[in-house]
């Protein structure tokens, strides 16, 4: 019954994929190539789509631009601030959810809610929570005896505020993925360990963590990638500014700033190129190492 492709079946096949293919080519494939090309445009009239000169100047520019290094530095601080904490908390919550039967689904739904929420809208809510005078967080802090903090206006605290918001927001996704991973662990390992008298802490570190390592690796890479792309949270939390004194100026903010505020398309594209290299390396790392690190039962 195996059929071979013929001219007729080929025409028919392409008719089925045609609508998707057109949009894909124009708005998803062409722009990737165009973006790489644009990073070399040094003189360009985008209204008439004429390129007068190409070169490496954009890359010289960004690598000598202190703002770009600041953006890279802030992004790295953000990634290292969010990812380890978020993953540890979500792993513990996932293990707890996996161990209970009553209300497990309800808790899962609650923890996941921030994921379906508009980032811009909820960041504005957090800005209100962080309000230095009337904000509920500072009022709680003063109540328990700490001194209030200017969460979103103090350059030293702005990044902390951003990190707290992002951890709060990222838990749900990580928990869902961890739960799926936990459900695949064979219960026999736990029974065996329990009979041998292993404590719950030892079961966690010697069964759960190793058996879950491929999932932990996957979640880590996904979290790092999305943390590298942070923008909306910054934009909304600090009211259209990259934090006080550029304290939360990230790579995507840099791209946005150069492109939408300063109309430096070539320079913005060069920064996109750097972001692409970082993210593609992480993706490839996931694809190759992720496959090899699987533990078989």
């Amino acid at each position: 019954m195996e059929q071979k492709a013929t001219l007729l079946s080929t025409i028919r096949g392409y008719l089925y994929i045609l609508p998707a293919l057109i949009i894909l080519m124009v708005f998803h494939v062409y722009p990737i190539l165009k973006s790489l090309d644009m990073s070399f445009y040094t003189s360009f009239n985008f209204i008439h789509n004429v390129v007068y000169a190409r070169g490496l100047d954009n890359f010289y520019y960004i690598f000598n631009d202190s703002e770009f290094w600041l953006a890279l530095r802030n992004t790295f601080i953000f990634v290292f601030g969010v990812v380890p904490i978020s993953i540890s908390i979500s792993l513990v919550i996932a293990v707890m959810l996996n161990s209970i039967s009553a209300f497990s689904k309800l808790f899962r739904s609650i923890y996941f809610t921030p994921f379906v929420t508009s980032t811009v809208a909820i960041a504005m809510v957090w800005r209100w929570i962080y309000h230095s005078r009337y904000g509920v967080l500072n009022n709680i802090l003063t109540y328990v005896g700490f001194s209030p903090v200017a969460w979103v206006t103090d350059p030293d605290w702005a990044m902390v505020s951003l990190i707290i918001l992002s951890i709060w927001q990222s838990l749900g996704y990580n928990i869902i993925i961890f739960l799926a991973g936990l459900q695949n662990i064979n219960k026999q390992h736990y029974y065996a360990a329990q009979i041998d008298g292993a404590s719950s802490l030892r079961r966690f570190f010697h069964i759960t963590i190793p058996m879950l390592s491929p999932t932990i690796f996957f979640v880590s890479i996904m979290s790092v990638i999305s943390a590298f792309k942070v923008f909306e949270e910054v934009y909304a939390l600090f009211d259209k500014r990259p934090g006080p004194l550029y304290s939360c100026y990230t790579i995507v903010y840099y791209i946005y700033d150069k492109f939408a505020n300063k109309y430096q398309y070539g320079i913005a594209s060069a920064a996109v190129f750097v972001l692409l290299i970082i993210i593609m390396s992480l993706t490839l790392l996931q694809l190759y190492i992720g496959k090899r690190k699987v533990y078989y039962t």
């Binding site: 071979k4 609508p19 949009i23 808790f107 923890y111 994921f115 909820i122 957090w126 709060w168 996704y173």
Partner: protein, 274 residues
């Protein structure tokens, strides 16, 4: 036995504490949205408003073109989601059942675009849209997102799990491809279709960077963009700001709680993230 009860208590204690932290911003948003300005500036803050000031909602709807933002968001969401579902069904069917030259190459190209972060598309697509004269139009907000590569991928996997014998049996009975797709494959793939629809709708509703860049007049803004510029109008009137964010967030939260099974399954099966 005693130890087990103790462990359970600790577990529930932490889960409830964590759950409260997750819910709190939502609660605080709704509570603030129902306060008067004096109550908003009350110290220490009131947990609940003294009397519910529902008129904050009409007030903010009148202060900013809220209904316009809302309608724009709905239009963009409905059209892009509908189109994504239809185009994905057609392409997933072709990729999973039909034999044609270059099929695997074209499919790999679809997959390759998944690895590239969306930020890469921003500048060239903006240039394309400006050259088409589409800045500040529904076309700009809609056309690039008429398809979902991830949806094609997910649905193809699903279609592949449906026994191929069904297809050949139908063919022998004289069933045309299109009829087979519509009456057999689509009903069988309903769970996957529901997941695709919901995820696309959510991501589209919350999408921000693209609408921010291709719109500059209030009439074309979507809700998230409209909210982001709200501070210039609302200033420090946080009760009004919270009323606006409540109206932007609540529709998706309700949709999520009603259909959460499909949303969470879609995520846990595929690991898709925005």
């Amino acid at each position: 036995m005693k130890k087990e009860v103790f462990n359970k208590t600790i577990t529930y204690f932490f889960l409830i504490a964590g759950g409260l932290i997750i819910i709190f911003p939502f609660f605080w948003m709704v509570s603030t949205s129902l306060k008067t300005i004096q109550e908003v500036h009350r110290m220490p803050p009131l947990i609940f408003p003294v009397s519910f000031v529902w008129k904050n909602y009409p007030a903010v709807i009148e202060m900013i073109p809220f209904s316009r933002y809302f309608i724009n968001s709905v239009i963009v969401m409905v059209v892009t989601t509908g189109s994504t579902v239809i185009t994905s069904i057609l392409s997933a069917f072709a990729f999973s059942r039909l034999k044609f030259w270059g099929r695997d190459v074209v499919f790999s190209m679809f997959l390759a675009t998944l690895m590239v972060p969306g930020e890469v598309l921003l500048i060239p697509n903006f240039v394309t849209i400006s050259r088409l004269g589409w800045i500040n139009s529904y076309q700009a907000l809609i056309v690039p997102w008429l398809i979902g590569v991830f949806a094609v991928f997910l649905l193809r996997q699903y279609f592949l799990s449906i026994p191929e014998e069904l297809y050949y049996a139908a063919k022998i009975d004289g069933c045309r491809d299109f009829k087979y797709l519509w009456y057999i494959m689509v009903p069988l793939a309903k769970p996957a279709l529901v997941s695709i629809t919901l995820l696309k709708a959510i991501f589209n509703w919350n999408g921000f960077l693209w609408p921010l860049i291709v719109t500059n007049s209030p009439e074309m803004r979507t809700l998230p963009v409209g909210l982001a510029v709200l501070t210039s109008e609302a200033g420090s009137r946080y009760h009004l700001m919270m009323a606006a964010t409540t109206m932007a967030i609540i529709p998706m939260v309700i949709l999520y709680f009603v259909l959460q099974k499909h949303i969470i399954e879609g995520i846990s099966r595929t690991g898709i993230k925005g």
